[in-house]
């Protein structure tokens, strides 16, 4: 019995993907040219599978801030926030985030994944209850397991099921903490937040929302779904990441809860890992500044999302109803998803393959995401490649789609 025998099935699947020469879980870009283009070897690839929603990775001011911070404060902090790794700039970023969200407190983590680990494991104690949307991101599930609370999940985006779960717990002692996401990363759908808030109030529960994919995307000022739904006062904790619309790495939590700062010495994923390097803190601080002061970026993103979503819908792909920056085409099975994905990459278009158990309802998805940095012609080119590949594979019909100008006008 060898150590890795338990992975026999996975090893088989991985090997067969490697054998095709195109393994979606093992792509690396040799050069990145811009938020929307990269090179694999000598081939130029159009990127439609990043989370670079606002295209800020190459923003001049963001890059300059990172370079300047490295010169001034060094390459890394070599320590945790509770030891030698807290710099003035970490504190400053926390204040900027709190200010942006209009909250009293902010806390920065080294990744978005760790923000969920750190917040969920610390908020819910042994006698408390975490109630998760069933389609929650892995970091929410892992964070729940890291703590000692009882964890149950409710049907995805189903306020009536959440209500049932809280009713069953009504006579059980302990705090009840509901966890939902703003935009779900697999299908791009949003939570029915107003209904969730009603249920939360009815049972006196707390509400955590992970705005990982909705920060900079939704809401009048880009704060996310809670802002868009007008329910921010009822959201107790907002968690998010710097790795998507802000183009960096790191995570955060903001809240108005009195005593919030005790989490700094209670949350193990905050305490027992090194803090973000100065370059990242400076880049994210500047990216947040851009997000706040350039609402046109968000408008451009939404225009692009609508154009791409309409393009794929008109071709007859089975995609979600909401035109969000995440656009996933439902494939009949994993093998088709892989073939489709590799044909697109051969044609110079990078997208993502998403498979169960990471996907809802066991779906095989060809996932794309749109950036504010995509040009109209890049979007139309991507739609064209979807059309050619989809027809060649018999996934969609042959009728010519309406030209893009007409589609967008008709919306």
């Amino acid at each position: 019995m060898a150590l890795f025998d338990k992975y026999a099935a996975l090893i088989g699947q991985f090997a067969s993907l490697e054998a095709t020469g195109y393994n979606p879980f093992n792509v690396s870009f040799d050069t990145v040219l811009s938020p929307t283009e990269a090179m694999i070897g000598a081939r130029r690839i159009l990127l439609f599978g990043t989370n670079n929603y606002l295209g800020l990775t190459y923003d001049r001011a963001v890059i300059e801030a990172a370079a300047e911070a490295t010169q001034r404060l060094g390459a890394g902090t070599t320590g945790s926030r509770v030891a030698n790794g807290s710099y003035g700039t970490h504190r400053q970023l926390e204040r900027h985030l709190a200010d942006f969200y209009g909250r009293k407190h902010g806390m920065v983590f080294s990744t978005g994944y760790q923000a969920n680990l750190g917040i969920l494991s610390a908020l819910a104690g042994k006698d408390d209850h975490l109630i998760l949307d069933a389609d929650s991101h892995a970091s929410i599930y892992d964070g729940s397991r890291l703590g000692h609370a009882q964890v149950t999940r409710f049907r995805h985006n189903d306020p009536a099921d959440l209500d049932n779960r809280l009713r069953r717990l009504a006579d059980t002692p302990g705090d009840k903490i509901i966890v939902v996401e703003g935009i779900y990363s697999m299908l791009g759908d949003t939570a029915p937040l107003r209904e969730f808030v009603e249920v939360k109030r009815k049972w006196g529960a707390y509400l955590v929302i992970d705005e990982a994919h909705s920060l900079g995307v939704l809401g009048r000022t880009g704060r996310g779904l809670a802002e868009a739904a007008g329910v921010e006062a009822d959201v107790d904790f907002v968690v998010g990441t710097f790795s998507k619309s802000l183009g960096g790495i790191g995570g955060f939590c903001v809240s108005d809860m009195d005593g919030f700062d005790i989490l700094r010495v209670a949350s193990r994923p905050y305490m027992f890992t090194a803090s973000l390097p100065p370059s990242v803190v400076a880049a994210v601080t500047e990216a947040l500044n851009q997000l706040r002061h350039r609402p046109a970026l968000r408008q451009q993103l939404l225009d692009n999302a609508r154009r791409f979503h309409a393009g794929l819908a008109d071709l007859g792909f089975n995609i979600g109803p909401e035109a969000s920056p995440v656009v996933s085409a439902i494939m009949p099975d994993p093998a088709t998803a892989f073939t489709f994905w590799s044909k697109l990459l051969e044609a110079g278009l990078y997208t993502n393959v998403s498979l169960p158990p990471a996907t809802p309802k066991g779906l095989a998805l060809l996932r794309s995401s749109v950036s504010a940095a995509h040009s109209r012609s890049q979007i139309d080119h991507a739609v064209q490649l979807f059309a050619e590949t989809g027809r060649a594979m018999g996934l969609i019909g042959d009728q010519a789609a309406a030209p893009p100008e007409m589609r967008v006008a008709a919306q």
Binding site: R145, T152, R168, P357
Partner: protein
């Protein structure tokens, strides 16, 4: 139509019923609805057979 399956307390829920991990979650949700209980995730992880499921449900319902 797949051939009918004879169920017993020893029937393994994944292999015996031919359910993958996603289908098991849906199956558990249906049981939760029918019995008006919520089975915590750590308890679900311990359930392998129909018998385990019955015992867990009894326990959560407070039935001996």
């Amino acid at each position: 139509m797949p051939s009918p399956i004879e169920l017993s307390e020893d029937t393994n829920i994944t292999e015996g019923l031919g359910l993958d991990s996603v289908a098991v979650m849906d199956f558990v949700m249906e049981i939760e609805d029918a019995l008006d209980i919520s089975i915590p995730l750590d308890r679900i992880a311990e359930v392998k057979t129909i018998g385990d499921l019955i015992a867990t449900a009894h326990d959560l319902k407070g039935v001996a």
